[in-house]
């Protein structure tokens, strides 16, 4: 293929992560099955399997969707983001068991091909007559696409923006599943607590995204060029010592987010978008002299925005200048990987 990619490999953190995920899945399935038995609901084995996997996958999806905004709100959640891919693949696998068993149970051994039967249930007026299984099937197809392309190999081949757009479809899948549940199980299961639980989940997912979005907007200072003299068209970033050591200040210039770092006395700037999965570099830190992405730890050299060999990632760089303790930024991006001399500040 010739496209270099760096696999986020196995390590102890990942193994621990996967163990916890597995425990969660088994706990959820067991809780459903055991309580169905204890309360004597009279379910057949197939129904218990179909429902326990459905609920488990649905819960996992909530966890997955909440991790993103939580990590943006508080960096201590970042370890959960690090290996979210495995959560996604696990969720797909559990949902797949639910979907396949539903397909067999409700559509196989009949007078029509099961896949045709799945999408040809007659539509009748009202919510009770609207077929809900095709909605679940559409969601499953999206989840499959995401799980199948989740490896960094695809990320490198599809390029980060395409990959990111593809993975935004998870929100479409979530919407489809909420409808799948609202038009399906909730039409039968009339206990108000069940409806309330679905709504609480929806509010949690939407609420966290909104809060994280607003916070980001608030910190997103769109800065207009204000420089004078030989800094004409440059942008005032503010006092150098207001940027915490080894950290960055993120600002938006002409719609692009730029991360302006300070490492001791050195000041430099690069695009905020990590080439891996578009993680926010400006929320990372300088570690071992390299800008380190908070999401999966990809690293970039301060002076040219390039990943050190053998890696190939590179991000656009920006020129900076420190005048009287204030940092100025040239809003013109340099091509990705272009060398720009970091500027220095006298009072670290």
């Amino acid at each position: 293929m010739g496209v270099g990619y760096r696999a986020v490999g196995w390590n102890r953190n990942k193994k621990r992560y996967d163990q916890v995920v597995l425990v969660g899945v088994l706990l959820s399935i067991a809780a459903f099955v055991v309580l169905s038995l204890v309360t004597d609901k009279g379910l057949t084995f197939e129904t218990a399997l179909i429902r326990s996997t459905a609920i488990t996958a649905f819960l996992l999806l909530h966890v997955i969707l909440c991790i993103g905004p939580l990590a943006r709100l508080d960096q201590r959640f970042l370890p959960l983001l690090y290996n979210r891919r495995h959560l996604g693949v696990t969720m797909f696998a559990v949902a797949f068991v639910h979907g396949v068993f539903s397909l067999i149970q409700f559509h196989a051994l009949g007078d029509t091909d099961p896949l045709v039967s799945l999408v040809t249930t007659p539509i009748s007026g009202g919510a009770a007559g609207f077929p809900f299984q095709p909605l679940g099937a559409a969601a499953l197809a999206i989840l499959f696409l995401m799980a199948a392309t989740s490896h960094d190999f695809w990320l490198a081949n599809l390029t980060a923006p395409v990959w990111k757009a593809l993975h935004m479809l998870v929100y479409a899948a979530y919407g489809l599943i909420v409808m799948h549940v609202a038009l399906g199980a909730l039409q039968d299961q009339r206990h108000p607590v069940l409806l309330a639980a679905v709504i609480v989940g929806l509010v949690l997912v939407l609420g966290l995204h909104l809060i994280a979005g607003f916070r980001e907007k608030g910190s997103d200072r769109e800065v207009a060029p204000s420089g004078t003299d030989d800094l004409t068209g440059w942008v005032d970033v503010g006092p150098a010592d207001e940027i915490p050591d080894t950290r960055a200040r993120i600002l938006t210039v002409s719609g692009e987010r730029v991360a302006v770092f300070r490492d001791g006395t050195r000041v430099f700037a690069m695009s905020n978008l990590c080439q891996h999965q578009n993680g926010p570099l400006g929320e990372g830190c300088v570690r071992d002299g390299l800008v380190t992405c908070p999401w999966h730890g990809y690293q970039y050299r301060p002076e040219d925005g390039q990943s050190p060999p053998p890696f190939h990632e590179r991000v656009p760089t920006f020129a900076t200048r420190v005048v009287d303790g204030r940092v100025w930024l040239d809003p013109e991006p340099r091509a990705a990987g272009t060398f720009v001399e970091p500027s220095t500040t006298t009072n670290p």
Partner: protein, 255 residues
């Protein structure tokens, strides 16, 4: 909001999670596991009862009798005591009716193997493929001669279910979750019945036929598993109730 110390900054491929992050996350992860298990358990506890239908899965028994066509074949079997008859709805394997399994002349005596499905006193036999044969009528077997009781015109409110799943093959075998399956079964020839539950929860089943006594399977498909009102002539064939009504006159109640 963010840790100022780069050593407290989590980098996934560096083994070990910083202490500050660990003591923050560990209780949250534990809480998350508890919440997940509790929600799954709560959903199990609050779900509807799947009912007390029985499918004697894996057990086959011999059955014998005449076939009455309503128009779906119904096995009319003399009770061992000699007086009276039992009527069994019939289905084939999977989501199929038994219409094509009984090819003999009217009045023929059939022997077959099957698995019993029953609920609320109504029974169905899932016929074992290839087990149906025609034999000579045993001496002493009395063919029921009485014509059906006409019980008059009634208006009934209930739900159209496929008799096979609802009586016990699937639990639950009705309502929205099961709708697609009921459509498939009825389309495949399983007899459609109107399930009517009174205020005490006592269930009565009416085999659905059109006003001419013909099969309604294809015509009722869009109306399956929905609250419905049907007005028609009720006939009693031994222990089996039949409701004659043109499906065009059925009224869905949810709109």
């Amino acid at each position: 909001m963010r840790p100022a110390d780069p050593q407290q900054f989590f980098v996934g491929y560096v083994d070990g999670v910083p202490q500050r992050t660990r003591s923050f996350l560990a209780p949250l992860i534990a809480l998350c596991l508890v919440v997940v298990a509790s929600v799954a358990g709560l959903a199990a506890t609050l779900q509807n009862d799947a009912g007390d239908g029985v499918f004697e899965f894996g057990v086959t028994k011999p059955f014998a009798g005449w076939i009455e066509r309503l128009p779906h074949p119904v096995l009319v079997s003399p009770d061992p005591s000699g007086d009276g008859h039992s009527r069994y709805l019939l289905s084939a394997f999977g989501k199929h009716g038994a219409d094509e399994l009984f090819t003999g002349a009217p009045g023929a005596w059939y022997e077959l193997e099957g698995t019993l499905v029953y609920r609320d006193g109504r029974s169905m036999i899932e016929v074992v493929a290839g087990s149906v044969s025609i034999a000579t009528t045993p001496t002493g077997a009395v063919h029921p001669t009485a014509s059906p009781d006409e019980l008059g015109v009634r208006t009934l409110t209930g739900e159209i279910v496929d008799s096979k799943c609802y009586l016990g093959v699937m639990k639950p075998g009705n309502l929205k979750s099961h709708r697609a399956c009921a459509v498939r079964c009825i389309s495949g020839g399983v007899p459609p019945v109107l399930l009517v539950r009174d205020d005490e929860g006592y269930a009565t089943y009416y085999l659905l036929v059109d006003d001419e006594g013909g099969a309604v399977n294809e015509r009722v498909l869009p109306m399956v598993a929905l609250p419905i009102e049907i007005t028609g002539e009720v006939e009693r064939h031994g222990d089996l109730l039949v409701l004659r009504s043109d499906p065009d006159s059925y009224t869905l109640l949810h709109e």
